[in-house]
Amino acid sequence: MTTALLKQPTPTAVRKPNRSFVHGLLTNKKAMLGMSVMLVFIALALLAPVLFPGDPSRITGMASLEPSPEHWLGTTAKGQDVLALTVHGSRSSLFVGLTVGFASTFIGILVGLASAYFGKFIDEALSLVTNVFLLLPGLPLLVILAAFLPPGLGTVILVLVVTGWAGSARVLRSQALSIRSKDFVAAAVVSGERAGRIMFREILPNMASIVMGTLLACVIYGIGAQAGLEFLGLGDVSTVSWGNNLFWAGNEGALLTGSWWVFVPSGVCIALVAFALALINYAVDEVTNPRLRKIKTPKTPATTERRAAK
């Protein structure tokens, strides 16, 4: 299911590669910095089996060793190599983050476009559902769902999508509404185009930048929320991921014994990825919104709203 969802939004988000948009991104310092960091992490995730062959959670040394030339980031209380755990952890974290991001953006696009295009009763009903999901307290809902569903990676992804789609649906609906009222959409309606075609061929390409922003925000949410869920011990404890690394660090008392090297790397990795994605997000805003280019502003109202809502 998830792979099918994964494929859908990509072509729409980058459809009609507008040359000035790509050029703008490539010359934007924030975008370049963010994309470089992301590329490094993606490369690490792909190369993890080559760099650290074998099971990363096997015991390779004495317990709780400080960083040394042998174990660059030391070992855990069980004697596992922290660097291997961290590098391998990027695989699960990036995979879940990207899957959750794409899936919730995709649902957001469907709900937002349907709301805006059909209006009236459908809009009322979809907005009601969206608002209820926005209002239900996210973290407790996450915990309750994870408690009832059988543990596993699929559950984690499902739960994160259920709690994460509403925010993007609201943002995308309001954007789609403003495009819905444009003349060219009315022209398409009059010329008898099918609803699906108008939604995906006429309206969607015109909101590419906001879809991109939503996608990035959803990926950030996915990575952070997965880490939180796993830190609480509600993820799939058998996989190696940044959140699980932190869960074990907490469980094995790394804090109380002073083994800072066990919990610092995974946390810093999550922060770096989130920060890199946020940088790309600001860059997209700057490139597509000329008003932000003149005076240097680090944020726009749209992005702060998303942050504040967290």
Partner: protein
């Protein structure tokens, strides 16, 4: 008035949705949570209590709609069953013993973050491009990128374990008699510092940037120019003219923040073993204490909805445009 009624209807629907979710989850989930739970606590429970729990969680042969009506009736009469992990305390009693701590922690952190964050936002927007405006936002955004619980762990390690400035666990020292004595209040305060500080640290950026961005828009309004032309003191224009009109989005965020207080402090409470509803919720999940889990989720949801409704009422008072509609 119509606005208020409309909102009230919406909150009632939302509350109904969360009750229904609570009702459906144990009944339609794969696996059998109920028998797992019974296996754990069989020997301590009376037959009639088991019977009541079976009904609550849907191990029941009656038609589903009958169960649903029964469930609703129980919820609204406050019968949420008996906690398993704290047998035989009723769920309502466990919750009421803990919600105070959550409100104390979350409330303190929310008020500090909102006041300081909004003030910083006002200053940043007023002196656009100045020291506060250019230095703070990137730093706060960077701090905001860290997973929240990780910052809490870092603070616990640094200030609690290494430096030993603050206590690292629980809401007050074990063995201390709760009461209105200076000793106890001071102890509670010391235990509050680290959890509250970490919440303030991660949430202050959102307040500041939100306020700053709204106020930049307000600053270009004609009535600000007018106020300047009248020769009013800059401080008065900043606070009474610009900031006052930029406050509305912050009021909305405050409502959402109130919801966050009850539900969102979960991770903080877990890291610091703070005895609030969030910590209890995780304990209930780990102890397969389904009645307590459900009771806590409903309480948290109800608190969130109530907070948002109160903010809506306040909104009507503050914004005349809503009233005239």
């Amino acid at each position: 008035m119509r606005f208020i009624l409309r909102r009230l209807g919406f909150y009632l629907i939302a509350f109904w949705a969360s009750i229904t979710l609570n009702f459906l989850l144990p009944r339609f989930m794969p696996g059998d949570p109920v028998s797992r739970m019974f296996a754990r606590s069989q020997d301590r429970m009376q037959p009639e209590q088991i019977e009541a729990l079976r009904k609550l969680l849907g191990v029941d042969d009656r038609p589903i709609w009958e169960q649903y009506v029964d469930y609703m009736h129980n919820i609204f009469t406050g019968q949420m069953g008996v906690s398993i992990s704290r047998f035989p305390t009723p769920v309502t009693e466990v919750i009421s013993a803990q919600i105070g701590w959550t409100l104390l922690l979350g409330g303190t952190a929310l008020v500090i973050a909102a006041v300081v964050g909004n003030l910083l936002g006002i200053l940043a927007a007023w002196r656009r491009g100045g020291a506060i405006d250019s230095a703070l936002p990137p730093v706060l955004v960077f701090i905001g990128s860290f997973p929240y619980f990780w910052l809490a762990m870092g603070a616990l390690y640094l200030f609690g374990v290494v430096l030993g400035w603050f206590p690292i666990r629980h809401a007050f020292t074990d063995g201390l008699e709760p009461g209105f004595t200076w000793e106890f209040i001071g102890d509670v305060g010391a235990h509050l510092v680290l959890p509250a500080l970490t919440i303030v640290l991660v949430s202050i950026g959102g307040w500041m940037l939100g306020m700053r961005n709204t106020m930049i828009a307000t600053n270009s309004e004609d009535y600000i120019t007018m106020a300047e032309a009248k020769g009013l003191r800059p401080g008065r224009i900043m606070l009474r003219y610009a900031a006052r009109n930029a406050m509305l989005p912050s009021v909305t965020s405050f409502g959402m923040g109130l919801g966050f207080v009850v539900g969102g402090a979960l991770l903080t409470e877990v890291v610091f073993a703070y005895p609030g509803v969030g910590y209890q919720l995780l304990n209930a999940v780990q102890g397969l204490d389904y009645p307590l889990m459900q009771g806590l989720f409903l309480t948290i949801t109800a608190a969130v909805l109530l907070a948002n409704f109160l903010v809506d009422i306040l909104y009507v008072r503050l914004d005349p445009r809503v009233r005239s509609n």
